[in-house]
């Protein structure tokens, strides 16, 4: 009897003892607004399919390009140079870096990773091998040479962010598309530890190449099933960081306590896309007149409780305006003036009848046009309502068309919509990415076929030429001139009407940690944790 009790106590204390020994001293806790996918640390599967530490804590890329301002941070690469003709990119890789299994990292691993994608096209999610890269070779232990057969300078963004894997670890993987990589070997600041459907934890990589970093012993992610549950965890102080779209962050979060702060940097825009394959939206004069009647300040205030500003008429985000916004933009921007819009419509051949209805060029009243939004997306629905009210004085009536996600996206892509609210389907360190993906003919498609990202289905020869030339030069002055052409062409034609800024949703609880990115120190774009930039936050946060 006694003996049994004794062994039971021993057993209990042993289990408790080991559990305590494994507990890290400082853990930075992150709340995940969605359930985790399965146990998958494969960095080549799309972000929603792998676990949140994969890109942000375990694997590293050559560089980190901050999409807010275009600043390039060295990571595994320390330096890069373009050849004179922009056909060769030479990257110097960091020495003294070790994989988490102790083997040394070298330029050969980088070359292997790139060529691995070439051999397995299903892994090449950013299309590196489809957009000009010809060969990637290692020269010595610290140099990688990337050769292009088509000049494509903006491809650097995707090259910089490719997760680098160890050759000795991946060369024997049979089917990398379905490989779940249960024991990941990376160069990053943390190593994988626990996985369950509730929580994922990584521990400090004790041999990380950056001395003294990271400052926390562990990062843990907790799964919830939505924004409300996540916000609750933040308010209870159970987690330190969350990426949560709170409807009114001042009222629902900031005002609840001193440690509750948020930083929502502008990283994209929401625009009213006009289907330029369809009358009357195929008429630039009609589109420009619409833009003059829409008060974007009111749209932004009503949709986002005054937290998010209206979009710049160029669509360029604030962090990039200083460098890229042409001086002519101000004069081209549509001026809010309903009377002038009315007159412009009449002048373009769209008269009003005696009942005040706007008539088409054929003399018949224009049908009420639909504004496509995702079903239940309250911010977009509000925008559509406000726009509808603002267009009424012009004799134009609208209706809101709510569709579930897949058909919402499909209607845009197949040009079966009238107008619709959506975000910029392309973003990057310069406005090029936005303009390229939004207006290049290669991302458009005939009506009925799926266009990747040119939602207005708008193309223009001058614009296409500027987009192509931009990718072929690394000369800043030339790039600026070409960007000016892109911006002015789009503003003159108004295939979309930029409505409101679109932001990240960083929500912090600063009770236990400092060093979060914020407006004073915007060292990353404030991204959800499965992206490259989040790594900087996990490196920089310090216990109080």
């Amino acid at each position: 009897m006694n003996r049994r009790a004794l062994s039971l106590t021993l057993l209990l204390s042993a289990t408790l003892g080991t559990a305590l020994a494994a507990e890290p001293r400082t853990t930075f806790n992150v709340v995940n607004t969605a359930p985790f996918s399965g146990k998958n640390y494969n960095p080549f599967t799309p972000a929603a399919n792998h676990l949140p530490p994969t890109l942000s804590a375990i694997y590293e890329s050559l560089f980190y390009v901050n999409a807010l301002d275009g600043k390039v941070n060295p990571v595994l690469g320390t330096k890069y140079t373009w050849s004179k003709d922009n056909r060769t990119l030479t990257v110097t890789t960091r020495s003294g870096v070790k994989w988490s299994d102790g083997q040394p990292f070298s330029a050969a691993d980088v070359a292997f990773t790139f060529n691995y994608l070439k051999a397995n096209p299903g892994l090449d999610l950013t299309g590196i091998w489809k957009n000009g890269v010809k060969s990637v070779t290692a020269q010595g232990a610290n140099t990688v040479v990337i050769a292009f057969d088509k000049v494509n300078v903006p491809a650097f963004y995707y090259i910089a962010h490719l997760p680098i894997v160890a050759e000795h670890n991946w060369k024997d993987v049979k089917d990398p598309l379905t490989f779940t990589n249960d024991t990941p070997i990376g160069t990053g600041p943390f190593v994988a530890e626990t996985y369950s459907t509730q929580a994922v934890r990584v521990l400090r990589n004790t041999s990380y190449w950056m001395p003294g970093k990271p400052a926390v012993d562990a990062v843990a992610w907790f799964a919830t099933n939505g924004n409300d549950a996540s916000l609750l965890k933040m308010l209870k102080g159970e987690t330190d960081y969350g990426y949560i779209a709170v409807p009114d962050p001042n009222k629902d979060y900031k005002n609840k306590g001193a440690n509750f702060t948020y930083w929502w940097p502008v990283n994209n825009l929401n625009a009213l896309y006009l289907n330029t394959t369809k009358a009357p939206f195929d008429d630039a004069a009609f589109r420009r007149a619409l833009a003059m009647a829409i008060n974007t300040k009111e749209v932004a205030d009503k949709a986002y409780a005054g937290v998010v500003p209206p979009a710049d008429p160029t669509g360029i985000i604030p962090g990039q305006q200083k460098v890229w916004k042409p001086g002519t933009a101000a004069t081209l921007a549509p001026r809010l003036n309903v009377a002038a819009a009315d007159a412009a419509l009449t002048a373009a051949g769209y008269r009003k009848n005696a009942q005040g209805q706007r008539l088409g060029k054929d003399g018949k009243p224009l049908p009420a046009f639909k504004i496509l939004v995702g079903s239940g997306w309250t911010d977009f629905i509000t925008m559509a309502q406000v726009i509808g009210e603002q267009l009424k004085p012009l004799g134009i009536s609208t209706s809101i068309d709510q569709q579930v996600f897949a058909s919402y996206a499909g209607s845009f892509q197949t040009a079966t919509f009238d107008t619709g609210v959506s975000w910029g389907w392309g973003s990057g360190p310069t406005p090029y990415n936005l303009y390229y993906q939004s207006f290049s003919p290669e991302f458009s498609a005939p009506v009925g076929k799926t266009a990747s990202s040119n939602l207005s289905h708008f193309t223009d020869p001058a614009l296409t030429k500027a987009i192509d030339s931009f990718s072929a030069t690394s000369d800043p002055a030339q790039q600026k001139a070409l960007m000016s052409t892109m911006v002015t062409t789009v503003m003159k034609n108004q295939p979309w009407i930029p409505l409101t800024a679109r932001t990240s949703f960083n929500v912090y609880n600063t009770a236990k940690f400092t060093g979060f990115p914020d407006a004073q120190n915007p060292y990353n774009e404030g991204s959800p944790s499965d992206q490259v930039g989040a790594r900087l936050m996990f490196l920089n946060v310090k216990p109080r």
Partner: protein
């Protein structure tokens, strides 16, 4: 025997119909998974990724609809449901194997419990009607049964998890609980199961109470009961042999159905409590347009209901001689 064979034939046929519908329905929904994926990334994924994703998800060459249908049936018979899209590359069967024990444990146990508790109270309130407790039970049962399930769940969460930290708000286990089946693990598991279990038992038991009470009341009026009383049988014997056996039959049918609905009925409870069982994954897979996972789960629901019905039919043959001996007229 013919009865059983006929019932089995119907089971197989309905399963085939369910499987076929399951194949057709998702294909009627507009939108394609890759397009949805592209849009979900809000411009962070380059359009070149579309082709890469098509290759990765095996959507490049699928053959004609008929070929796809036979491949689907064949795969299904071999227990192969493909890989989940939202949790790519996990095989659907792995996800289900991981989620099923939680659902069957929680919903299975609570369905049986609420049936037993509800029926026992129903029997009591009919048998002892006139006493205050027996009289108060039916209106109370109607009240809890009519209560919206999620509302009661939110009340429990608010008072027992938020205001007082008695039980956890959500989940099935503490995050870093260590190895399974240790004392620490069991404690954590039971603490997490408590609130969802209470919610189910309370809201479901009322229904069983009413059903059972009605059944017992109708049996009480039967002549054979008067005869049994006249024979001077003991109360206990009357309840067990005459009342319960006859009153149970209609309840059993409903109970069989309820067991079948364990998988499908878990959606609400598991979503409210973020309990990672089948219902939770059904909800997330529908949201993510994850067809392979959806198909497998819907098929499981259909199969569970059909098989439960079949088992009830078999049980009837045992319990009710009229069914067993029944011949076509």
């Amino acid at each position: 025997m013919a009865y059983i064979l006929r019932k089995f034939g119907i089971l197989v046929f309905t399963l085939w119909v369910a499987a076929t519908l399951n194949f057709i329905l998702p294909r009627l929904v507009p939108g394609d998974p890759v397009g949805a994926m592209m849009a979900r990334y809000q411009g962070q994924l380059t359009p070149d990724a579309a082709q890469a994703l098509r290759i990765a998800y095996g959507l490049t060459d699928q053959g004609s609809a008929l070929t796809q249908y036979f491949t689907y049936l064949n795969n299904m018979l071999h227990g192969n449901f493909g890989r989940s899209v939202s949790q790519f590359p996990s095989p659907v069967t792995d996800i289900i194997a991981q989620a099923a024990p939680w659902t069957i444990g929680l919903l299975g146990v609570t369905t049986v419990l609420s049936f037993l508790i509800g029926s026992a109270l129903g029997l009591y309130s009919a048998w002892r009607r006139g006493t205050w407790l027996a009289n108060i039970l039916p209106p109370l049962a109607l009240f809890v049964n009519a209560m919206p399930y999620f509302w009661f769940a939110l009340l429990l969460i608010y008072f027992l998890a938020l205001k007082r930290d008695v039980f956890p708000i959500s989940g099935n286990l503490d995050p870093f609980v260590g190895d399974a089946f240790t004392p620490k693990w069991w404690t954590s598991m039971l603490r997490h199961a408590a609130l969802p279990a209470i919610t189910i038992v309370v809201t479901a038991a009322g229904g069983w109470l009413i059903t059972m009470r009605n059944n017992v009341m109708s049996v009480l009026g039967e002549d054979y009961l008067a005869f049994a009383r006249a024979k001077g049988l003991s109360e206990r014997r009357i309840v067990n042999r005459y009342v319960l056996r006859n009153a149970m039959l209609p309840s059993l049918t409903a109970f069989g159905m309820a067991l079948g609905f364990v998988v499908g009925g878990s959606i609400l409870v598991e979503t409210v409590f973020s309990y990672p069982g089948l219902g939770f994954y059904l909800f997330t897979s529908v949201n993510a347009k994850d067809y392979p996972l959806m198909q497998a789960l819907f098929l499981m629901i259909a199969a569970a209901v059909l098989i439960a019905n079949f088992l009830v039919d078999l049980l009837y043959a045992v319990l009710d001689p009229r069914v067993r001996d029944g011949r076509p007229a």
